[in-house]
């Protein structure tokens, strides 16, 4: 019985090995239940989305209309492009069948007959691996027509992106799937009412759906007791930056950040101190090294600390890190990835990038610090999608928590003729 996302089993990506270890038993069990019972199980488990927003998955599923003349769709978000995030890649590589099983169960629960799995274009190699797993699962009758003789049918289409961070935003992902530029859509209408080709659609992250077979196998009560009560379950934490053992670690939610860094990731090279940590991918607010005590990897704890779980991509920075260079690089990223639809984001991300580059060169002006804050505040909340917020939060938090770093880089010199007599 599969009880975790990345169990230590050799060759688990092969369907025979997955089956031998209890794989696809959850699908059999789910197909024997009523669809609404499956949704209820997921709802009661308190599973929350692992793509960054932590939205309750079961609740999201109930938004789908039960009766509709239109086809219904599931989009599986494998666009994984948030800097510091490399967890879905592990699922594609080591345990693709748990994801496929979760997808088919989700389709059954919501009465969906077509699912699209959107994988970022850079993961070409992983697209092939996943396609192989999908073909194997189809050959065994776990996907396709009349699944396991129950009369339920659903198809799974693997769709390769082409290099655009914004396509991880759910409405941009749908536009991209429709063959458009990846422009986010205005909400409402929400995808459950008007999604892909105007039909009811649910979008879930790869890791989220990979949790579903575990819930069905073990029951919601068992699952809801793993980790933090309000945000339970196993979570894949990717640790990168200044640690001895970077990598993806599976653990229950609610594990203290310091335990993740020192116990799992082997601490900081050279036993240096920690200057700062980005806890959940580049868009989550940065934390100071001296405020990590007691901060845990779950939605409530991170919120209380003034940050967010995001995609659980922990980036560790040691005491010698040039944080100005870090924030300038993050700003450059959002400037590059802004789709250009909304003026505050299109222009604002460029301004943030340019001003921060001045600080990198040591040419920052004292008033630039407040100017950065002003630009960030005017992007936040004023755009169609959350990319604007994602660009603003790191800058705001960096200034709030590391203002001294900016002040050190201010260029105080003035031209000779302006020197006061």
């Amino acid at each position: 019985m599969i009880q975790s996302l990345l169990p230590n089993i050799a060759d688990l990506h092969k369907i025979e090995v997955y089956e031998a270890n209890g794989g696809y038993q959850a699908l059999r069990k789910a197909l024997g239940m009523k669809p609404e019972e499956v949704t209820d199980e997921v709802k009661k488990s308190n599973l929350r989305g692992r793509g960054g927003a932590c939205f309750p998955t079961g609740l999201k599923w109930t938004f789908m209309p039960k009766v509709t003349p239109k086809p219904k769709y599931l989009c599986v978000n494998g666009d994984e492009s948030e800097p510091g995030t490399f967890k879905d890649r592990q699922i594609f590589e080591s345990n693709p069948h748990v994801m496929i099983e979760g997808i088919v169960i989700a389709c059954y629960a919501m009465g969906i007959t077509t699912a699209y799995l959107y994988i970022r274009g850079e993961y070409g190699k992983w697209v092939r691996m996943v396609q192989k797993a999908v073909d194997d699962a189809s050959a065994k009758g776990y996907i396709g027509q009349n699944i396991l003789g129950t009369g339920f049918s659903t198809q799974l289409v693997v769709h390769k992106g082409a290099g655009a961070y914004i396509c991880g935003e759910e409405s941009a992902l749908m536009n991209s799937l429709e063959g458009e530029r990846g422009y986010p859509r205005v909400k409402p209408p929400f995808p459950a009412q008007y999604g892909l080709w105007g039909c009811p659609t649910t979008i879930n992250n790869v890791e989220t759906l990979s949790n579903v077979p575990i819930i069905i196998n073990n029951g919601w009560e068992w699952y809801s007791k793993i980790g933090a009560p309000k945000h339970p379950g196993p979570i894949l934490v990717g640790v990168s930056g200044h640690v001895n053992k970077p990598g993806v670690y599976e653990m229950p939610t609610g594990v203290p950040l310091l335990e993740i860094i020192y116990k799992h990731a082997g601490g900081v090279p050279g036993n240096k101190g920690i200057k700062a940590v980005i806890p959940g991918g580049s868009s989550t607010p940065i934390l100071r090294g001296d405020q990590l005590e007691g901060v845990c990897m779950d939605a409530d704890s991170m919120k209380a600390a003034g940050s967010a779980v995001g995609t659980a991509g922990v980036i560790v920075m040691d005491e010698d890190t040039d944080l100005i260079q870090v924030i300038a690089r993050i700003a450059k990223f959002y400037h590059h990835e802004s789709c250009g639809q909304c003026t505050p984001c299109r222009e604002g991300t460029g301004w943030l990038h340019k001003i921060l580059d001045r600080f990198v060169r040591g040419d920052g002006r004292r008033e630039d610090i407040d100017l950065l804050m002003d630009v960030a505040n005017n992007i936040e909340g004023n755009t169609i999608c959350a990319l604007g917020d994602a660009a603003a939060w790191p800058v705001q938090s960096m200034i709030r928590r590391f203002r001294d770093e900016f002040e050190k880089r201010v260029h105080e010199a003035v031209p000779a003729e302006q020197v006061p007599a």
């Binding site: 948030e82 800097p83 429709e178 458009e180 990168s240 580049s282 870090v326």
Partner: protein, 154 residues
């Protein structure tokens, strides 16, 4: 413009999507895999094939960073310089590559062998720094490893 095998694959794709426009990305991938880049003629071809406008195809090609609207080098080396890679020395990798190949980021060597690009996070943060050449990822790089990658490709 496209091989028989690709045309056959397109027929299969038609059963997977309710519109032909939805096949824009997959078909552009086929063109790029066969020709290395997507020329204006190829865009016109894709537009006719999928019964969408040339403008639509042009818009898509220019939106997504992985589609090449013009010819690039035989080997496309993409180096991630985002935060996780930067913290683990991607700057040195860039410097070394530029020195070895005699070109700067964003340039193609005169003989058409190499194109060097800076890219955003590729999902190799746990094995940083990295570069990709085509679909292949080269991870945990240092200058010596970069040399062996270049020697292998040459």
């Amino acid at each position: 413009m496209l091989s028989e095998a690709s045309l056959q694959k397109i027929e299969e794709l038609k059963t997977k999507y309710p519109t032909t426009q939805a096949m824009t990305l997959p078909v552009l991938w086929m063109v790029q895999e066969e020709h290395g880049f997507i020329s204006p003629e190829a865009m016109k071809y894709v537009a006719d094939l999928l019964k969408v406008s040339y403008g639509h195809v042009f818009g898509v090609v220019t939106f997504y960073t992985m589609y090449n609207a013009r010819k690039i080098g035989k080997h496309h080396i993409e180096v991630c310089t985002n935060v996780s890679c930067m913290l683990r020395g991607s700057g040195k990798i860039v410097e070394h590559l530029e020195h070895r190949l005699g070109i700067k980021m964003g340039e193609t060597s005169r003989d058409g062998t190499w194109t060097l690009s800076e890219v955003e996070c590729m999902g190799s943060c746990g094995t940083a720094p990295m570069c990709a050449v085509g679909e292949e990822y080269y991870e945990n790089l240092n200058p010596e490893k970069v040399d062996s990658v270049l020697n292998k490709l040459q």
